[in-house]
């Protein structure tokens, strides 16, 4: 069953058309990596999936709900769609534990005790149990990003969106974050990952979308897309980064 359905999605910023007619469906438990050059529109595509960007035309349906419909309860829908950002965007005035507890308490209304239990369990999962009382600026980039993943997971989302989650990290931090993502994928989380980590895309994803100039130029299983790209643009892109 498809969890995400994107139909004829178009997005313009002023006169610049960033996404030109994108249609794709993503199934439950599928891990999809989105690759492409910077400026190709891949991050914009991701941000349209939880309406951080208002789409210009088309339709985005998440778990059967049209998120761009006038009567769509976007806050409700966003609870189902976790997002992890390139710059982590942790709340600097709150401790690690408070970062994770906030949304479950305020958006879902669960008790502080339940939220704390959940947050502690998630911190253990991402390997940062001992950082609960730290503030974000006391953590390394890799640790911050793992907290950000835990924060998103605390809402029990059905889908996780990752917007270049390792691009702002020092190289030695990347592995820890990717390991957490791999584990998530193995547990059956539906994931859409915008990334430059071709190793991750090859190893973990079920499907790779190559976005170029606002369209999905090519999509395929990673083994085939990397080994035998069909499109000239895909070949050119891959030859540059591999």
């Amino acid at each position: 069953m498809s969890l995400i359905e994107v139909k004829n999605l178009k997005k313009s910023f002023g006169n610049a058309e960033v996404l030109k007619d994108i249609s794709v469906t993503i199934d439950k438990q599928e891990v999809v990596c989105v690759i492409g050059a910077s400026g190709s529109g891949k991050s914009t595509f991701l941000r349209c999936l939880n309406r951080l960007e208002e789409i210009t035309s088309g339709q985005v349906v998440i778990d059967g709900q049209d998120i761009t419909a006038k009567d769509a309860n976007i806050n409700q829908i966003r609870q189902e769609v976790g997002m992890v950002f390139q710059q982590f965007n942790l709340f600097p005035h709150k401790t690690v534990l408070e970062n994770i507890m906030l949304a479950p308490m305020k958006a879902k209304g669960i008790t502080a005790d339940q939220a704390r239990q959940k947050a502690e369990a998630l911190l253990a999962k991402v390997g940062l149990k001992d950082k609960a009382g730290s503030y974000p600026n006391e953590l390394s980039g890799g640790q911050q990003q793992r907290v950000a993943i835990a924060r998103a997971l605390a809402m029990n989302p059905k889908i996780m969106l990752f917007d270049e989650p390792t691009s702002a990290l020092d190289p030695e931090m990347v592995g820890d974050v990717l390991d957490v993502m791999k584990q998530l994928a193995q547990e059956g989380m539906t994931m859409v990952v915008v990334t430059h980590e071709m190793g991750f895309a090859r190893e973990v994803s079920d499907r790779v979308l190559f976005i170029d100039d606002g369209v999905i130029m090519e999509e395929n299983k990673p083994s085939e897309l990397f080994a035998d790209p069909k499109h000239e643009r895909t070949k050119a892109f891959l030859s540059k980064i591999l």
Partner: protein, 214 residues
């Protein structure tokens, strides 16, 4: 020195009025400032305009004129009747509110967009995002500028003596009228203002340390 000691009970009473007027005015001013700032940032154009006109009108006119307007002007219409203290508090509050509004607006706008996006992506509403994420951080950053404006407002309260509010400045005038010790009394009045303003800045640095910037 004796002149000052003799005057102290009067000046002390005046100081209490000054402190009272200031505290009430600054609290109301802060609420006005917050509302006006949120209006200026709201997506509704009408609210933007009202807020902008308010801020421009207050910033573009002298506070003494505002005071006369609220006390003599409004009262002359005979529709409402403001006593001097209310008119005085209202003037200082509205004046502070206009400046606070600009401080708060700038503080909110200086926040990284990623903070809002992270909060909204978790399913928090716009209001929750403001309340739990944006405002706490923005207020911490604004503290030094807030203190500045609070000090200016405190000094502005001395103008209220003009409409007969029995504040520190007015008490000073009264004492001098009786004793002719202008030098000693104005010196004492100045020192008393200085002391409360100094205490205010101590409070501000305490708060800045208490809520360390992260």
């Amino acid at each position: 020195m004796k002149a000052i000691m003799d005057a102290l009970p009067y000046l002390w009473a005046g100081l209490q009025v000054t402190a009272y007027v200031f505290v009430i005015a600054i609290i109301i001013g802060f609420i006005i400032g917050l509302i006006i700032a949120l209006m200026r940032l709201s997506p509704w154009k009408v609210l933007n305009w009202i807020a902008k006109i308010f801020v421009d009108a207050i910033r573009g006119t002298p506070i003494l004129v505002q005071l006369f307007f609220f006390y003599y002007g409004l009262n002359s219409l005979g529709i409402i009747s403001l006593d001097r203290t209310s008119a005085g508090i209202l003037t200082v509050a509205i004046n502070a509110g206009a400046y606070f509004a600009e401080i708060i607006r700038a503080g909110i706008q200086s926040m990284d967009k990623g903070q809002t996006e992270a909060a909204r992506s978790l399913g928090l509403t716009n209001v929750q995002t403001m309340r739990y994420i944006i405002l706490p951080q923005a207020f911490r950053r604004m503290l030094p500028t807030f203190t500045n404006q609070a000090i200016i407002s405190l000094k502005d309260t001395s103008l209220l003596s003009v409409i007969g509010i029995a504040d520190l400045t007015q008490k000073g005038q009264v004492v001098i009228a009786a004793t002719f010790k202008a030098f000693e009394i104005w010196l004492a009045v100045g020192v008393l203002y200085f002391i409360i303003i100094y205490l205010l800045s101590l409070l501000s640095s305490y708060l800045e340390r208490r809520y360390e910037l992260r």
